[in-house]
Point group: C2
Chain length 554, copies 2
């Protein structure tokens, strides 16, 4: 092999903060503190620069090294979006250890499993989670120290034998530290997926995957981040690398604004305005709350010009409201923890610019087209490629330099599917269509799709129709055993309080909205539907509960 | 080392065209043909899509393989910007061979040296260069075949024993070809720098460096390319990867418009308008011609909103004219062949948005701040870091994953300078300042800077002042021996035809414009100044010619 004669500089996470510090040294990082304001009102907002953050990240790396943290050791965090968490992103990964963001919203038994499975040697936590930590600590014997992310004055009143103070650890170091020149394939960070079945599975990112993903995330067709932006990540830093924002913003020198624990509409709105935020990112639920606040208080956004919406499908009405009422462009994005997380963003192509508002909205409502680096395809049950016609749907597979090859410690099975060339593709667990322009739209989860007489029915489509009925609060559709068709759709519905609705009325509501063979065979009313800790519909539970349900058509 | 569990997908040039074909398959590539229109007017413009280009690039790869081209073999091009050249970029590199773009504007003896040094096994050439090829061929014995980039009907009437027809070669193949999954460090492309001294030196890029550089080039703070853009690269494809545009545009699915050989103002303007070009890129000379045409004909740009200007420093007046008279934003960029080529782009930061037009123009007139991946610093004669205050100037060094480590075959010496950490930095040969915001401004070439009594004087600054005098057509400043100060500035001037100007008047013109000790010690008038084939001032020749010059101050 003839090798190119180019400097073999590794792609490292430490290079991102070094770059930000050198070339955008005075760009700000502003945080709403978890400690909140002091009696005199000070301390509610913390403000410093990339240059300061770079020094503190190196102090943190020194402190962790002094505690005995070595290459490849895992260090966990239970924390909101704030400057100390940002320092942890760089200090831990930068020194060669693995930064493990833990989602504090999971059930305590899941947290214990995750912390022990990851073998976190130290855990950093925000004050909010002190009571949680007190509960977890006895079951997490491998954790040598619990580091409260605060100063001595604010230390929580909990009794833990191995409680440490973040600010004291950092203050003891001088920051004269050179980031090690690691192999770029070195593990940098770890994040567990909380599926609806089985134990959480660990996704282990590398320095290389993180930096390449940050490049892709910052592109004009993705999140489009520049040194002229002020980014407020609402998406928690414990969700899949906060969608790369702590990395992508350092890469381009964008100002960062961290909201801390205050994620209600009012707090967010005030921070957007006070810090002149130009772009944000989060899940639909958060934006719903923000839009409700803005609507009630008749507020407009004076600087925000776009927002990234992902995590779950963004309702078209939300896109419309943001764009038409608030002048805020919506970047509808899709990805998953196993994808670092970005896969697609629904930005328009040149050919779409002359379309009507409604036509553009229809495109933006899809999950979007691939960013270079995350290739995708849809396949049938036998793994054969399906056409990109925007109608046929199949299992969605992805492949690229920031996509999982296997789970931490191999626990979670060998997920990849090999194609005819021997290349591994990751099955997303989603069922989707792809249109001729490459725009992907998720129609269902693979395990939820109803397989009836060899054909597939999307449960999400059927649920969306039910929720469109004025008397329906929430709806779920599952496949129910049918002796002739294998499975047929069963609709399970929670009515709005006080609403009147019969089974027959609701089934009739589907007429003309879907093909005849898609119509649910039955409808059942319940008081509530089961959910996971992160708010997803728990269809496994429903399938269990309705295992013996006899369809009238059977 | 704990390795991340992420798919180890190599960064390959073939992945770019595969992506464009799959996800932006119908985005267009439009070329003004070198053959020109037929008698019936057809054939002046060639139009196809990324999907078509992908197929033809694979056919070309098959054709070259059939000719015996193997991994690492060099295949040269002497060609304008057009679709066949684009196919060569992907077909040659994609198959594992090395795509060697040769600059047809060099002197024939340089071309012979370069083609023989590179050991090009095949040469692709545009019709324009048929007479040149006929001249070169006898001296380039290693070239097994000269491939005319045209169809049989347009084959040039030259007598070469090994003349081949591009379209015939391509037509003989079916395009059913899988791109090899190469090691990403594999050499992909080769480009020679034509310095002012010594033999041209070969810069050997890799697949990895090219793809990472394309990511960086497409970023919002760099060239900001998206799927909504129509890019017309005026910069020739034989100049340092055409500034990455053939790669970056495929990465994001931007429409490409290739101007062929017609680079005059009128032809470019008409193509801009006809194809709704939104962004372009080229050297100041080309833009001067375009602006003259637009000015004379009172034309405006109806779709172009920005243009990249690099290759040599862009005069502030040109930035002002583009922005204020034509509403076209200027992206002033700097780089070099050894840098793939991008290093800095002078885009504004958030803090600059509130500045006045004049203040913004002053920032844009600098070469700009680093894109992530191309770090830089300035050092003194001993290699010590100099401050970033926008005043002190020193040798500019760069480092990063798309920057040269050494020249092809090791010929050109070991260019890197090691820092105290043992990391290699490439000396650009430029002398520059860097301001506190990281904006770099080139003040001179290292070998041209005048070292007087331990201090440095920028010859470019002194030349710019002379050219500002209404009677001066062109000026050069060189260091001239001085017994006390080692060197002092000597000004060498070509007067405008018919202009009257004395030595004393011109020296007096410097008063108040520079520090006293910067003032030239002498001034000499000449009829013309020596230049290289690419139009650069040949100061080595001047230093030779004025070696014995006795300064009046000596």
């Amino acid at each position: 092999m003839l090798r190119g004669l180019i400097q073999e500089v590794p792609l490292l996470i430490s290079s991102l903060i070094t770059h930000a510090s050198r070339h955008h040294g005075d760009a700000e990082i502003v945080s709403r503190t978890v400690e909140g304001p002091a009696a005199d009102g000070s301390g509610a907002i913390h403000r410093y620069t990339y240059r300061d953050a770079h020094k503190r990240a190196r102090q943190l790396a020194q402190a962790l090294a002094r505690l005995g943290v070595k290459d490849g050791d895992r260090v966990g965090t239970l924390a909101w979006n704030g400057y100390r968490h940002f320092e942890a992103f760089y200090g831990i990964s930068g020194m060669g250890a693995v930064m493990h963001t833990v989602n504090p919203r999971l059930f305590p038994e899941q947290l214990v499993y995750i912390i022990n499975h990851a073998e976190d040697g130290y855990m950093l936590f925000d004050l909010t989670f002190a009571p949680l930590v007190e509960k977890l600590a006895p079951a997490c014997k491998g954790v040598k120290g619990w580091i409260a992310m605060t100063d001595r004055a604010h230390m929580p009143k909990i009794t833990l034998p191995n409680l440490l103070c973040y600010e004291e650890l950092v203050a003891a170091e001088n920051g004269n530290y050179e980031w090690p020149q690691l192999d770029e394939y070195t593990a940098s960070s770890l994040c567990y997926t909380s599926g609806t079945t089985g134990n959480p599975k660990g996704v282990l990112y590398s320095h290389r995957s993180t930096v390449i993903h940050a490049f892709a995330a910052a592109l004009p067709d993705a999140l489009n981040i520049s040194a002229r932006d002020v980014m407020l990540p609402v998406v928690p830093m414990f969700h899949a690398n906060a969608w790369s924002l702590p990395y992508g913003c350092a890469m381009v020198g964008a100002k960062l604004v961290f909201p801390g624990a205050a994620l209600d509409g009012k707090s967010l709105y005030e921070l957007f305005e006070a810090e002149k935020v130009t772009v944000s990112a989060g899940v639909p639920t958060v934006w719903l709350a923000l839009l409700m606040y803005a609507g009630q208080e008749k507020k407009k956004f004076s600087t925000m010009n776009r927002t990234v919406i992902g995590g779950s499908a963004c309702p078209p009405a939300m896109i419309k409201t943001f764009q038409e009422e608030y002048g805020v462009q919506v970047l509808h994005a899709w990805g998953m923890t196993e994808m670092s997380p970005l896969g697609t963003v629904s930005t328009l192509k040149a050919k779409h610019l002359k379309l009507s508002k409604e036509q553009k909205l229809a495109i933006q409502s899809k999950q979007g087209h691939n960013i270079f680096g995350a290739d995708m395809k849809i396949v049938d049950g036998e793994g054969k490629d399906l056409p990109w016609d925007g109608k046929v749907f199949g299992d969605l597979l992805v492949r690229g330099p920031w996509i999982t090859s296997s789970y931490f410690k191999g626990e979670g099975g060998d997920p990849l599917r090999l194609d005819e060339k021997g290349q591994g593709w990751f099955p997303t667990g989603d069922v989707a269509t792809i249109d001729p322009d490459g725009y992907m739209q998720i129609t269902d989860r693979s395990k939820d799709v109803i397989k009836t007489g060899g054909e597939w029915i999307s449960t999400i489509d059927l649920e969306n129709i039910a929720v469109g009925h004025p008397a329906v609060a929430e709806a779920a559709v599952i496949g129910c055993f049918h002796p002739k068709w294998d499975e047929r759709p069963l609709l399970i519905v929670v009515k709005k309080p006080g609403a009147e609705l019969t089974r027959e009325e609701l089934l009739k509501f589907y007429e003309g909205k879907v093909a005849k063979w898609w119509m649910p065979d039955d409808c059942v009313f319940v008081d509530q539907l089961p959910h996971t800790a992160t708010g997803k519909l728990l269809k496994t539970k429903l399938r269990e509960d309705f295992k013996g349900h006899k369809l009238p058509t059977a």
